[in-house]
């Protein structure tokens, strides 16, 4: 019997200046493989199915347990993390493509800097006075903690932005991940003191009114973050805040 193999098609691009091309690989199958193991196999022997030597495939990855967010790519048409993409659960040939909403660096590597920049726009932090010892933080009920904790699990992978019809290089929409972070910081007793600033950032162009409620984000998020809930909650908060301000309160 022929040995079981894994077939993979990869969309490659040597640099932003060059055009994309597809390459196909066939590697030996082992139980428990994920897409990262497959890419490592290719690195050990970078030869295509046609027997042509090629370069190793560039991609981002670090933690290998879906907590750093680095390894997002499009796998069989669906944006997701490569490290949790088990070969056994994927139809073959497996296709790998880079996320399309971010500038390409090389092969499966893209530049997601915009995501981090957008966190600055909404001041996604607790403005503490300083790191000197001021005693414990504010008390918080276990219920609020259980509401906030899932929001703070966002790994900035960008998958929710990839599937968002409103997120692209000719709009400034911040997207679901960042809107959800505003909810997180506005839930915190200290963070709430600056909720106005964050809501105003969301009221500005590129903010929450750009959302078309396609609801793709919540279905794709690998961390199961309740993104549509966050968008609805922040939509209401922005309106309330804007009305209050208009009334001079």
């Amino acid at each position: 019997m022929a040995e079981k193999t894994v077939q993979i098609r990869i969309k490659r691009q040597a640099s932003p200046q060059e055009g994309p091309r597809w390459e196909e690989f066939e590697i030996p199958y082992r139980p428990g493989m994920n897409v990262i193991v497959a890419l490592r196999d290719i690195a050990e022997r970078p030869v295509t199915v046609e027997g042509k030597s090629t370069s190793i495939v560039s991609y981002d990855a670090n933690c290998l347990e879906e907590i750093c967010g680095a390894c997002a790519m499009i796998i069989n048409g669906r944006p997701r993390q490569a490290c949790t993409a088990l070969i056994d659960k994927l139809e073959q040939p497996i296709t790998l493509e880079p996320l399309s909403k971010f500038p390409i660096v090389r092969d499966l590597q893209v530049n997601r800097q915009r995501l981090f920049e957008d966190l600055k726009k909404v001041k996604a932090w607790i403005p503490i006075d300083g790191t000197y010892d001021l005693g414990p933080g504010p008390r918080e009920s276990p219920e609020v903690q259980q509401e906030a904790y899932p929001l703070s699990n966002c790994i900035s992978c960008g998958n929710c932005l990839e599937v968002c019809p409103q997120y692209n290089d000719h709009t400034t929409f911040v997207g679901a991940a960042v809107i959800s972070q505003v909810r997180l910081f506005n839930l915190h007793p200290t963070g709430r003191m600056n909720e106005g600033e964050r809501l105003e950032a969301l009221a500005a162009p590129g903010g929450i009114q750009d959302c078309s409620y396609a609801q793709n984000c919540v279905k794709i998020c690998p961390k199961g973050i309740p993104l549509t809930e966050s968008i609805a909650a922040m939509g209401r908060a922005v309106i309330k805040h804007t009305v209050k301000k208009a009334l001079g309160k």
Partner: protein, 575 residues
Amino acid sequence: MAKNIIIVGGGLAGLSAAIKVVEKGYSVDLFSVVPVKRSHSVCAQGGINAAKNLKGEGDSPAIHFDDTIYGGDFLANQGPVKRMCEAAPAIIDLLDRMGVQFNRTAEGLLDFRRFGGTLYHRTAFAGATTGQQLLYALDEQVRRFEAEGKVRKFEHWEFLSAVLDDAGVCRGICAMDLQSMEVRTFAAEAVIIATGGNGAIFGRSTNSIACTGSAQSALYQQGAIYANGEFIQVHPTAIPGEDKLRLMSESARGEGGRVWVPRDGKPWYFLEEWYPKYGNLVPRDVATRAIHKVVFEMGLGVEGQQAVYLDLTHIDAHELDVKLGGILEIYEKFVGDDPRKVPMRVFPAMHYTMGGLWVDDEHQATNIPGLFAAGECEYQYHGANRLGANSLVSCIFGGFVAGPSAVEYAKTAAKAEVPEQVFTAEKARQEAINQQFYSNEGSENPFVIWKELGNTMTANCTVTRYNNRLQETDAKLQELGERYRRVNLSDKTRWANQAFFFTRQLGNMLVLARVICLGALARNESRGAHYKPDFPERDDANFLKTTMAKHTASGPKLEYAAVDTSYIKPRPRKY
């Protein structure tokens, strides 16, 4: 003169240092191979230690200090450990103020759980993703400073070397852009290294990909002393995998998880039987050796395999979700079973390096003037074995010391004008190394050499060590070093060339591997994580000493320094 400090590494240690430096009025240039939010610290699961004594157990920093020194088998210098344990409660308060979503008690206070090597509830936690939550809190503070122009980030840049002037003083760094591959030097009044662990030397470990130890090795080759390199922690419970050995945090046992293997048709809770006082929460070195004994000597691995059970099935599923959700998800995603319903199959895995760059007791200063180090990349807080949940606190504490120390140094050190030639020479040296790889015509594949490195290090330099095998390992490492000279880059392009970056790191891994191996060979005793069946006892008369490795052309030269035991007198370590 520009008032700036360079920090290399944006994990917990690097970010903590950055915050302190900015508070002292200096600006920071922050370098990291990955966006700092993706640093390895996000992997930490179980929690962070501080003797807050919120459970009415009478815990105190003094007991935390004693547990840490005893757990580390008395190899750590005691002054810094004492200060860390005393500072820990305020560090937790600060993290709490920064918005970390720690688990709470009904009264709204921080909840604490038990961890290995202690009898107290001393570990604060945010589900089972504590490292992620802590890192994000610091990342957010640093982003705030970045928005204010006080921090400049150089993400996707790799540190290559320190820029040393003729007097051997550190004047900046040389780094490479991981996209354009430009090599550049950067000046600074002081440099802090916070580049984390070195799991990649062992091939597969619980560490992230970026934990190569490459920066530490480069500095060692430039004259920095590397201390206690032979002390490598193997964590007792991880899920074996071909790309990574994924950790199942000690918090699983802290929350009541039990380790067993089937014997005579019944579960045998060997840790509970052998260690009635600490049970499943003996320190990691002890639990790991016990598992190896059960599996390799007694042949009792689950279904004849290299595995034991880690069992949570007796615990309420909702409680598990609230306290351990993150790791249960990892098990489900990678293994496919639900750990709420079936016991998990786990096995020990390389996890942490106690050894690292040598730093002084007070300032986190290396022996190179102007160069500081903090976090897992330095050696100072954990002696011969680290206690669970002590690393996160040591990273933050170390960063909090390193930041102000670097600023103090910058203010007081003599400011000679640094000739431009110091920078251009280092840049030329690094570019020449790069060019060498491009012109090499050999036939060796770097990924294959790496695999062999990992296999030999894991087999011979982890749980059980024999002198003859260590000698063979060193010979193998030298052979790999020879072959490395004939490495052929499959890809000779000059844009985002990952084969190239990896090849450079691999060279540094091979050098550091010898430090680990020869340090182990020379230490003829058993202490903490370092275990030699031929020398089963701790030998304080000869080895209550810090190993200090210095680089020479013919390999590491080992010297030894006395350990400060002024607070707690060494006593036998018997759990």
